[in-house]
Symmetry: C2
Subunit: 456 residues, 2 copies
């Protein structure tokens, strides 16, 4: 094979530095998840196709990676079906498993399958890869990781309060200060649609409203008119386009806009509860902001809707999102299990931390001490010291070959190893170590205890 090997488009290799940085983010999120009482589960990479198909809409079904059955899979395909040569129709006959598309549906499946072992309310987190046959582009991959935390089995709004705190805790721990946690409520959107006389056009209405930031007030109104929302309704919306002030002030405006909608007022009340809680408890570095244009995953969420925006000045889509869904497990036959959850966008958080240079310097668990190899006797003497350094938790290694000194020093340089130990015949005889500090260029003869102190 003369050609250099490659990997499928939309997938990535991660080198040691990248893995270390990703693990740093995972570990930070995981630690916060655990202090908040979430516990980890893991589900298989592939599920039975019927578990996934039909759960993400037609587009989702197309983007799910299907796994070919093993063995003589064609022998089980009906002759007439085969003769049609129709990819869509034949798929379910030659593929019965598919790769996980997100973590939510497998979680719902898990809850239903294990309902008798689970003690509700159940707070779980899950950090695993998912796969989507999407067209790859900048920041969009065919294999990427999701980090989700959800609670199922309680409708308490304290959970929404805690999720806002949790977002704040994670981004504070990552030193990513100044993120905005946007919040909305599906009931407010429904209430508005009701008030403006477009209850049946909720989706058209929110799709248009969602574009307010991008296309501006006039174009949004045009789009609404085009979708058949009456001018009188749009007029009633006017206060919405200029909603401003503190969270509490906006709440009061919404109360007046929605005064005739029971559902809308319920949504406002929920938002107010969450905001009051957060006002009292305080946030460390994030800000909570009401965003009545927020409508992500509309068909799915039934209460609170969350989205997290990177700090001002960083151009990046949302770095987290989530919300309340009142019937997560209904698709698998378990009714009336309310859930609320949030997700972290690992790849985008990575890019933001990179851009703002927020990764800790020591994130890469690089080797700290390299022992130069001058031959077998010296190597064995060195390995005795290395053994003790490792037992003290210090990443240390011996250059495996008695190569030229220059080659070995170059190796230490290229790998940015901070300390090099030189052990020649003389050092072995006098039981010392020559320690070279690569950054400072200094060199000292030390006994083992002094060496350990120096590299610690």
């Amino acid at each position: 094979m003369a050609q250099k090997p490659s990997i499928p488009k939309g997938t990535r290799d991660f080198n040691p530095e990248q893995v270390a940085k990703r693990q740093y983010i995972f570990k930070t999120i995981q630690t916060v998840f655990e202090t908040y009482g979430f516990q980890p589960i893991e589900t298989p990479s592939f599920e039975n196709s019927e578990t996934l198909m039909g759960k993400y809409g037609d587009e989702g079904d197309r983007l799910i990676f299907k796994i070919l059955n093993s063995g003589d899979y064609l022998s089980k395909v009906d002759e007439d079906l085969y003769a049609e040569k129709n990819s869509t129709k034949i798929t379910s006959s030659i593929s019965e498993k598919a790769l996980r598309y997100d973590l939510t549906v497998p979680f719902a499946r898990y809850v239903v399958q294990h309902q008798n072992e689970i003690e509700f309310p159940f707070k779980r987190y899950q950090m695993q890869p998912v796969w989507r046959a999407d067209r790859p582009q900048k920041g969009r991959f065919r294999e990427f990781n999701q980090c989700d935390a959800d609670v199922v089995g309680s409708k308490s709004l304290w959970q929404e309060v805690e999720f806002v705190q949790l977002y704040d805790a994670v981004f504070t721990a990552l030193k990513l200060e100044g993120v905005t946690i946007k919040i909305n409520n599906r009931k407010i959107l429904s209430g508005i649609a009701e008030v403006i006389g477009a209850k049946d056009k909720l989706i058209d209405f929110t799709v248009a409203l969602d574009k307010l930031d991008k296309i501006g007030e006039e174009k949004v109104k045009e789009e609404m008119l085009g979708k058949g929302i009456p001018q009188s309704g749009i007029d009633k919306l006017q206060p919405l386009f200029t909603l401003s002030g503190t969270f509490e002030v906006q709440i009061q405006s919404l109360k007046s806009i929605l005064s005739t909608s029971e559902e809308g007022l319920k949504g406002v009340e929920e938002l107010e509860f969450i905001n009051t809680g957060i006002e009292t408890l305080g946030l460390k570095t994030a800000a909570l902001q009401l965003d009545v244009t927020l409508a992500r995953g509309l068909n799915y969420y039934t209460g609170a809707i969350f989205e997290v925006a990177a700090p001002d000045g960083v151009s990046m889509g949302s770095i987290g999102g989530g919300g309340r869904y009142d019937d997560l497990t209904g698709i698998f036959g378990l009714k009336d299990v309310s859930g609320v959850g949030i997700s972290f966008g690992l790849d985008r958080i990575y890019l933001v931390l990179e851009e703002l240079e927020l990764f800790p310097e020591a994130v890469n668990k690089n080797v700290k001490v390299l022992f130069i190899n001058f031959g077998d006797a010296e190597a064995l003497y060195s390995l005795k010291a290395i053994q003790k350094l490792r037992a003290a938790g210090i990443n240390a290694e011996l250059y495996p070959d008695a190569a030229k000194m220059k080659k070995q020093m170059n190796h230490a340089n290229k790998r940015a190893i901070p300390f090099v130990v030189l052990v020649g015949e003389e050092e072995v005889k006098s039981e010392v170590f020559t320690l070279k500090n690569m950054a400072e260029g200094t060199q000292d003869k030390l006994n083992f205890d002094a060496l350990l102190d120096a590299v610690k």
Copy 2:
């Protein structure tokens, strides 16, 4: 959907306790890998099919999970080929990607693809799932994790010495004392085949020899005869069947058996080097044992061969293995890159630790403190304390609903939460917390600082 959902055979859901135990093993191995100077890489879950196919033999090719192409994949299949309806022939036309089958071939691909960015010798570790369409059975899954450490780019035998130390360090850290690290050398097997005049029958010979423990000396000899190995050769083997004594004594016997084989003597010399190093450096809890019947992965290894056996009394196959392979990357066009590596069998190690009850009690990062919810005012007061506990690294949570006291206490019991805090109207007024120690059944009224001390 009335039927309870399920997962594909050979795959597993992991509940919080299982995930915590698995993470404990991963984390222990990872920490040791890093102190030994290994650095992590990750590769995509699926590779281009041509990267994997043909690398694991015909049986391996069959066991690789193939991913169906997206879109109208049948439209690209040639009419004549389609008409044949032959699964084997059609696969490469409808599937161009496949799930990782092990970590070694993707690593070889990685090294070749990134050879210009890599500083050799390159010490990498990798802990990721792999997939095999094997018939599932006890302890054999279709999705399982591998944990590999390899060095490429040096032929130094010090690396073999360090891998023996590394096995010892990991199993000592896991408190799994008394494992046996078996070692052999491919060159010794070749040497023996040469000496007994069956050089062309190396594989038949080692396959038979490998069964010595299971079927006994006589049957092994019968099998060798049956495979055309001459009686005179088998006679020369006699000392091999009764090889015993210390490592050093066995080495001396081998030297005499192999006195006429240059390759065999080279193998003995390598073993002796490794054993001398280990004798000098010492092992903490494991034992190194020469096992001349060890022949795993024969077509692959060219020098040292390792296998780790669980402590006596635990019936379990090998819990680790590895060896030296002199041409890992040749399959991808990069010649003369020697590698040596080892692997840990996570699932089997898990079962052994479970059987011997070696998992630490605190492995499950369970919630430590549950605050009973008596209503919104009390809940808010509780959340202020919970916030401070979490900041101190203590896993704490509020029961989300103001449910009946009994229900909330049952919840704490079922989840084995060690501390429960009761905050009623009175506690809020006097700014105290009633702490109940669930194991001891004791109850105390404490201020926050005393509460923090008590649950720490």
